[in-house]
Symmetry: C2
Subunit: 202 residues, 2 copies
């Protein structure tokens, strides 16, 4: 199954080029496991979720450690019928059948509890889209139930759910939402924003 | 039908607060027709597409005229089954039945040709999601056919389509994609990025 993301990093500083290029070093441990292509609006990362989410976490956390207001925006997708399969995306996440929500939510909560502590406080906002089937709201609501228990839940908003906490827990939460909700072989996307060091009141 | 967007504006400059607050004046003509709520990660705009898209266009164009590298990111949604109806969203866009693709594409192209010229060159990237039905790729492919003919098409990418041109034509193109593809009363979302003044090569 094809999976990956179009990501962009926005440091709100005159030195945005330096912040971005310095943060890109954080991708080095993942480069052999990802296909990476950049243009003037986003960078494509193609690879399995277990590589993709830690890579995004480390990239964003490195930029946020500049103490500048930084945002990472990502369009994340798996199983799009229009995308060819690619061996680099092979993942153990999507082998099994659909299991009951309680089982999925319990496994997702355990993964978040075991997340790496990055030492970077962030806020995040995500919208999960389950495509190609009539009962998409059941899966979305099952995911929102998990988000509310995740320890990173901040509030429900129109069109999105807002999270806050350590960036390690946040990216683990979004990875679990992406992998465990929607059918294992289904077309699922997430529209994600992660932000650190904003001067605005929460 | 409930419709609106969570939007964020990212000026890549030390003066990002000033660029944002100055650009917000561009929303003044639309404020009576929108519900607007801001927190530290995004601003909610609730209203019909014929107000929402010109408002986003004018806000982004005002920020881009600072000549700083600026990005607007938006999660745009209509018809989500979980959202209550709201009279402020009343729109003539969604009254009719589903009409053939050729008819929709022709009307969409006419609207883009008649778009306001803003004098701001920009690039944009969008992903259209049609939810709650099995044939979602038919609607997405019908939309991509329109985008390719729109005069703003730059290239197809994994997970997204990239556009470039005047910001007036770009926001008109995205409005047509949002309003004319997916069933009139269906659940449709767009993940949108618009960028100006990037130092990166296109």
């Amino acid at each position: 199954m094809f999976s990956g993301a179009q990501i962009s990093l926005y440091p709100m500083t005159d030195d945005f080029v330096d912040v971005i290029t310095s943060a890109l070093n954080a991708l080095d441990p993942y480069r052999a496991q990802l296909r990476i292509e950049t243009d003037d609006i986003s960078t494509l990362l193609v690879g399995p979720p277990e590589v993709l989410f830690p890579a995004m976490r480390d990239l964003f956390s490195a930029a946020a450690r500049s103490d500048k207001h930084c945002v990472l925006s990502a369009t994340i997708s798996r199983g799009c019928p229009g995308e060819p399969n690619d061996a680099i995306c092979n993942s153990s996440h999507f082998d099994g059948p659909v299991v009951p929500f309680l089982e999925r939510q319990t496994a997702a909560l355990t993964a978040v509890q075991n997340a790496t502590d990055m030492g970077v406080f962030s806020v995040a906002q995500l919208s999960l889209y389950v495509l190609g089937q009539g009962n998409h709201m059941d899966e979305i609501c099952g995911c929102i139930d998990f988000l509310k228990q995740s320890g990173t839940f901040e509030k429900s908003k129109h069109f999105a759910t807002k999270l806050s906490g350590d960036s390690g827990a946040l990216f683990a939460t979004v990875e679990q939402a992406f992998c465990r909700f929607g059918p294992p072989q289904g077309h699922v996307t997430i529209d994600l924003t992660v932000s650190a060091n904003s001067p605005s009141a929460r």
